[in-house]
Symmetry: C2
Subunit: 360 residues, 2 copies
């Protein structure tokens, strides 16, 4: 607390990211990073010539990256946006579309169990918000979002949802877009490449849809900070106005070049995605054998709850054996663990430690 | 315009950065980039091992960079902050310290001729602001900022000022800090390394001082997007609260590593700074001979006005000869040009084109 902080800063409850431990000996299954290094093509970008060009500003509009990203979904450059990680892209979208709009009353809606940055951004930008409970089996039912009395505020949810990993089919998202033509719907597809259908191709038909994506997980570039958005030209122009009122050059020269190569290396993506989904299925099977119920995941993590042992106790036990997983001390999910899919060896080690902890 | 934009987005007047032309044949003296490549030590960081670590998130607090940056000014890590360019750092500072504070009335004050992003950030965060005119000879007189009736809002100015290049001595800044102990003063030192005294060492004595710096200009890393701030632990904690309510990981892994090496290579900085200031003095002398009045610059640019030819005409003429300079179509300075200091050869070319245009 300080008398120099604006009143708003005193009221903020900042986001707390997962732990980034210094020790290299830990098996890190707590922040949904990809266990494999990025594409060789992306890494080949890192040379002296690129370094020397760092003396010049990057392209403020990241035109090369936007064009390539759009093309992958059959879209035009004016449908795409790039920022400093999908966190920044989402923050800018909150400011652009979820702030007060004259004539459109009602709170921003998002699931009660979801990405915990949503309420932080809403509070930061002074946006009224309300959560909508997932069903008892942690499914995302979109009906309450378009029910009478839901208001005319925006809607945001991850697909697949996090931390549950459960995906919605694109047809359900399309039905929502039809039902709420006056409200902006942001679909946060940070994990979409691990098994869900992207809504990005819908942006040519629904002017109220913005799709956010990340290179952090599926492209193994969490350390690079590149996020994307796809939307109608009107929504992309809104994002650009906010971006250029906050920070003109969020994507640096190296990040843009690496991101372009990584997005273009579809073969790498396909191979890595298959490895991770295979490891996910193996891990799910072993967890079930150990007495966990595991939600059906379309992401690079699983959300699992043991039939007897509390989540907190398991997390602490794993940590004592140098395995980090994520636990959320929140209503409804305090007995769950969110476990990132690592390499096969890492998941074998996880299972082995769990066997020890559970005495099986 | 779009019905999906928040009301605020309709009202924004986004910042317009200097042109980043695609043609490599232009002599680019319009955006204050460094004409020399970054430090060899910084470039040596770009290797495959660093690339492979991109699969992991960066340190959200950029602890290594903060510690190194603080040490250069004899400060502790808790006095330092790092962000995605000094633009992001300044944007976060506006939100943290210039928003409404109960009991402290009055607008944010900054010079009428100054960095044109200040009113953009103020408008974006809904901050009331007012400009204070520079003197007739474009000096920054701090007296009006602490006069009766100035109010209790914050203060921000660049030192050296941009686009004038004129620097204030540290003693004058210290006197201001003494005079306004209840108001946050942000000193924007983007160009400080080219000849001004940094106020950073004062942060241990003045809790109301925040100093922003950039690696874009003096360290030749405009393409990397790394900015710094120095302040009392209370101010740094306020910046951290805002940062963590907007984007947890603004400094990527590569940017942090390169920035650390660049900051630590003091010999490179000293050599480059000397080359640029020598070229600046040569350029100033030639411009004066050509009939320009040139403000005394402590930056890597000069702000010059010809005694006869309008600024716009000269800019267009230079452009037609493939030399880009910056012109601001604004009151009081519409006849000035802001000319970045490039290499000796580039400045000789500039002078030669000006000779042609002026018929001398």
């Amino acid at each position: 607390m300080s008398r120099f902080w604006s009143d708003q800063v005193h009221r903020l409850s900042p986001y707390v990211p997962g732990e980034q431990p210094k020790s290299p000996d830990l098996i890190k299954l707590n922040t949904n990073e990809n266990p494999y290094p990025p594409s060789n093509r992306a890494l080949a970008v890192l040379d002296r010539a690129l370094g020397e060009r760092l003396r010049l500003y990057p392209d403020p509009g990241s035109a090369a990256l936007r064009e390539l990203a759009a093309r992958r979904h059959g879209l035009e450059p004016e449908h795409a946006f790039a920022g400093n990680g999908s966190d920044e892209v989402l923050a800018l979208a909150f400011a652009a579309f979820f702030g007060a709009r004259e004539g459109f009353e009602g709170p921003l809606l998002f699931p009660d169990i979801s990405y915990s940055f949503y309420p932080v951004w809403a509070d930061f930008f002074g946006i009224e918000w309300k959560t909508v409970p997932l069903t008892d089996d942690f499914a995302l039912d979109l009906a309450p979002y378009c029910a009478d009395g839901a208001g005319q505020g925006g809607i945001v949810f991850p697909n697949p949802n996090a931390p549950t990993g459960i995906a919605l089919p694109r047809t359900r998202i399309e039905a929502l877009l039809e039902a709420v033509p006056d409200r902006v719907v942001v679909v946060d597809e940070a994990y979409v490449d691990f098994g869900a259908e992207s809504a990005a191709p819908l942006v040519t038909r629904y002017e109220n849809l913005l799709v956010a994506q990340s290179l952090s997980k599926s492209h193994a570039l969490a350390g690079l900070r590149v996020g994307l958005a796809f939307g109608s030209p009107a929504l992309i122009a809104g994002l650009d106005r906010v971006k250029s009122s906050f920070n003109s050059y969020p994507v640096d020269r190296i990040a843009e070049r690496i991101a372009c190569e990584a997005l273009d290396d579809e073969a790498w993506l396909e191979t890595t995605r298959q490895r991770i989904t295979q490891t996910r299925e193996w891990t799910t099977g072993r967890l079930v054998e150990l007495g966990f119920s595991v939600l059906p995941s379309s992401a690079n993590f699983v959300f699992a709850r043991h039939r007897e042992k509390p989540g907190r106790e398991l997390m602490d036990g794993l940590r004592a054996h140098d395995v980090l997983v994520r636990h959320f001390d929140k209503p409804r999910i305090a007995d769950h663990l969110r476990i990132t899919i690592g390499t096969d060896d890492e998941m074998k080690r996880l299972v082995s430690v769990l066997e020890t902890l559970l005495g099986t």
